[in-house]
Symmetry: C2
Subunit: 198 residues, 2 copies
């Protein structure tokens, strides 16, 4: 629902990034709420996949799951639509100050981002270097380019700075990542055309 | 993964629709597997949203959920990308032979489909009249048009026949719904332009 004049949101979103103890996921969810409330994009976090083993049915409409397990996600956490484009991304935090360990992303998630891009979707990852208070976006093409041309087990911060884009923390939305996605990309992977939102 | 020459799939998908006892969801999942395996589209069913109350952590990587509840979905069950378009839909079965009860779709799911369409996504519902062995696709615009111009609590079969499209059961994929989605739609909601897949 919409908040009149975004007052509630404003209170909720007063940024104090350094020590407000919010996770990247919370920040992105708030930003997605903002995108929806302001009719900019419809993007949701997918529910965590679990496998249910036992369920107690108290009544027809009240069921309690008594045994279930978390599953390894086969896709990314977030997807949705923005100006008719399919948006698909994964968001990860790292405490490292120098690089993002690739072990944080499952191989099938990278495969998924590869497929998404191939099918004309806009795929990317958002990485928060929590100790540095810096958040970056890296388009799927650049992520894949790095993995295919490197044997390294982590992506250096430098690669995010040079090839990705840093997302500044703003008031509303907290993480305005849609402003930093690249729509068109030449084969050499250098020249990108930005989508500027009015 | 891909099945060489789709042999495994072929066996899996030999259609015997009348009494093979497969649900619409199973059929759509198999069809989505086919779309992925054959590089046609990347569409997944979202995990069922639940709220976890209690978790036992046996070890760092082995956690058992011991109490959780199902949540009312705020979005639809399926979404993904097809030729760069954002695809979003809900699939429902009804045992009625004459109409589809609107109680089967949550109001916020209809609101979601409305938003999706507004943002340039392709939203629709797939309804299976199980007793008739007939499956229809109804684009979000037509669903919303019906709801806003009718006080009826159910959509008559006739409306699916005239305004929607019937999806025949085929061999591979079982339910080739992407063949029946409308891409462009005039304001009067009658004239539709089809996307033909090669």
């Amino acid at each position: 629902m919409n908040y009149p004049n975004g007052i509630k949101k404003q209170i909720k979103e007063t940024p104090n990034y350094g020590n407000r103890g919010m996770t990247l996921e919370e920040d992105i969810n708030i930003s997605n709420d903002y995108y929806r409330d302001n009719d900019i994009a419809i993007i949701y976090k997918k529910p965590t996949p679990i496998t249910v083993n036992k369920v107690d049915f108290h009544s027809r409409c009240d069921a309690t799951i008594t045994e279930a397990h978390y599953l390894t996600p086969s896709t990314t956490d977030y997807n949705g639509v923005y100006k008719g484009f399919y948006i698909d991304f994964e968001a990860k935090e790292t405490i490292s100050k120098t690089s993002f360990p690739l072990a944080n992303i499952h191989t099938h998630q990278i495969e998924h981002l590869k497929r998404i891009t191939k099918h004309g979707g806009i795929g990317f990852i958002i990485v928060s270097f929590t100790k540095l208070n810096r958040i970056f976006i890296l388009m799927a093409n650049d992520l894949i380019a790095f993995i295919t041309t490197n044997n390294r087990k982590s992506i250096p911060l430098e690669y995010f700075i040079t090839t990705g884009k840093e997302i500044p923390i703003s008031l509303r939305p907290r993480i305005d990542y849609l402003k930093y996605i690249s729509f068109e990309r030449k084969e050499n992977g250098n020249d990108t055309k930005e989508e500027k939102r009015k």
